[in-house]
Symmetry: C2
Subunit: 414 residues, 2 copies
């Protein structure tokens, strides 16, 4: 087999460990004689179409400590895009023209369901047109809603973030002997995995979160009010975690409701703020809503070791699969056991994951719909384990600079 | 000198390192023959009045690893109160009756300006009434607005939190090649120290935050719009940090303004959300507001080593001062040099700090009022330095359980 080049890109929304998959893939490629130069698409497929391509050997081959730091740099070194492939034949021709220009034999795309759809389409086009380029996906998403994989890289670190935040808030709000409610809104439109992960904040010293509401089951405002009242009768400080995507019995998003404050002003707000107004109006104690937003997916300084390691490994598995001749697949992992935690790596057809969505099994939600079961805890526990020794400089994480800055500076001294 | 007991309490709002001051004071007291039993007031002065007092020797004397973990537990182990001493003589009598009951010779109160006012009043009452109890303050506040001290314990960790958040958000928002604005609202009503600390997010690889607005200078919406437009002409992703307490030329809080969204709905919101609506209306690019809120003061897992160590030392200094016969003072630190960073510890009369407020010197704010100077950076840099090796269990920080739980369980096994 002759030596061919590889190209890799990132797409969709960021996670704290997508760069770990990138670093794993690059490091593996450097070690394989079948692969020549390693190129990166800056801003995904869109960058490829605009010839926004950089040489990753130049940037990392003689600087393995920098490659190591790349694994601990959040978001996307190569930038992202939200580019939906059209059915226009000429678009495919442009993409494969660009790939031929760089003598690409191996193409990797790190992303979620949409990106896996791109992998599916490109690999089918290559096969149909007898183009010898292996096209392989590497999964990522904080939402954990990908099919065909036990859990998504990026999710473990988001889960850890929300558990950390809830535990810290539980301490913070415990200090006064007055009644209060804190509502923390977690990311997740249709799948409640991140909100559910807040359960890990509990330990022998902390019972918060007291209530967890997920989008997998219909949300009732009346039941919410009575749940909160019941918890307030037992605890001074009640912490409630809600998914941003809570829906009512009619399938309407709670966040789409306008609420009216005590002055009669209409408030447009998210799920957490809507429920804050409900508590104010119906219970009347001190109440705050917290929405960590994109902090949940970008906390590079508190990534889970399990998550980072698995993200790296999936990058390596993808590169090996392509060199072994596989195409139209993505790197995946299957859980062998919870305790001791163990996974096996493999590949799976991308058609399994493209355009599908995995939600929480209903049997992992308690009967009263305001908490999760012990099975859910066992599933989540290993995913947040292990602290990563992120390198620090002047008291802050010393991340790798992102690629578009690299391009401006043309020097990679850090 | 006969052996007398000591009592310690915490008051006001939480920080991530108040328990480090508590741990420092307890550890020092255990080592001094002048001090007998170490008691804690649960929920400050209010707890003392309600005889809500716990024995800290029982809980920590034979468990020094637990005392060590107490330094790395956020918020307040002993709980807090917001109790303003009245001028009523009988209230003082009740307090000193309670102190006599426990044979207290040394009284310590960890708190901000209000708490130092309490220390001032109690110490003057004791002197006037010939009561031999030494009353000493230990300072804390995330706001860094205390007079008589170079910087307040708790501030360094809040500064670190905001710098971490801004650096992570800078990476997260850099991924798309479209124009966007992110507005991060930092705590601080009258003093902009926390917002200013976001400057530390900058390094050789990241220029964010692009704009910083502080409450020390009047805020102009027109200038804000032109500043943001100018930055957008140079950068795709612009990150703006604002203090919650921004005021206009008339001294009115920006957060008090109602804004009207694109549908004509009146929005009641904080400073960040108001400015988000301004950007939407006047610039029209993608814009998000982020308000980390109490996460800024409760992030026990990312405390600054400098901050934690100084908080511990101030606890020790206070105990030594009381045993040396001082009263009506608080433990303080003075900076000797920035580089190498060095401080000296001392005590200062509490009257210096009570009911006063330290804001940012105007010469540390740039002439165009949207950034801070290099002097500010030099002042801030040492305060966030050093990562603390917080003990983890199952991937999450293993904090000490708070005192009111201790009281219920009456066992301290962790």
């Amino acid at each position: 087999m002759s030596n061919r080049n590889m190209i890799i890109g990132q797409s969709g929304g960021p996670t704290a460990v997508i760069n770990a998959s990138l670093a794993g893939a690059i490091e593996c490629a450097f070690s394989l004689k079948e692969i020549g130069t390693v190129y990166g698409m800056v801003n995904g497929i869109q960058g490829l179409l605009e010839d926004n391509v950089i040489d990753l050997n130049e940037r990392f081959e003689n600087n393995l400590s920098r490659l190591n730091r790349l694994s601990m740099t959040p978001a996307m070194y190569l930038g992202s895009c939200r580019y939906k492939l059209s059915d226009d034949e000429s678009e495919y021709e442009k993409i494969f023209y660009a790939l031929r220009k760089y003598d690409i034999g191996y193409f990797f795309y790190i992303g979620g369901n949409d990106s896996m759809d791109t992998v599916d389409k490109l690999s089918r086009y290559a096969i149909e047109n007898n183009i010898d380029i292996k096209i392989v996906g590497i999964p990522k998403t904080i939402d954990n809603d990908l099919m065909g994989i036990d859990h998504s890289p990026g999710f473990g670190s988001a889960a850890k973030y929300i558990a950390l935040a809830v535990r810290n808030v539980a301490y913070d709000t415990s200090i006064y002997s007055i009644k209060s409610v804190h509502i923390i809104e977690a990311m997740g439109r249709n799948a409640g995995w991140i909100a559910a992960s807040s359960v890990l904040a509990r330990d022998s010293k902390n019972v918060a979160p007291h209530l967890i509401y997920l989008p997998e089951v219909p949300f009732s405002v009346d039941r919410f009010i009575s749940d909160v009242k019941e918890k307030l009768s037992e605890y001074n400080s009640v912490i409630v975690v809600v998914s941003e995507g809570l829906k009512d019995e009619n399938g309407e998003y709670i966040s789409a409701r306008n609420s009216v404050d005590k002055f009669g002003h209409v408030m447009l707000s998210g799920t957490g703020n809507y429920l804050k107004n409900i508590v104010e109006a119906h219970i009347g104690c001190k109440v705050r809503a917290l929405e960590p937003g994109i902090l949940q997916r970008s906390a590079g300084h508190t990534i889970s070791f399990t998550d980072m390691t698995e993200a790296q490994n999936l990058g390596r598995v993808a590169v090996h699969a392509a060199v072994d001749g596989k195409t139209g697949v993505f790197a995946t992992l299957r859980r062998i056991s919870d305790n001791p935690y163990s996974v096996e790596y493999d590949t799976e057809k991308v058609s399994v994951v493209a355009n599908a969505e995995k939600t929480i099994p209903l049997e992992w939600i308690t009967a009263n719909k305001n908490d999760v079961t012990q099975e859910m805890v066992e599933y989540l526990k290993p995913l947040v384990r292990g602290a990563v020794q992120v390198p620090y400089r002047d008291g802050l994480p010393d991340y790798v600079g992102i690629a578009y800055l690299d391009m401006k500076k043309q020097k990679y001294t850090d």
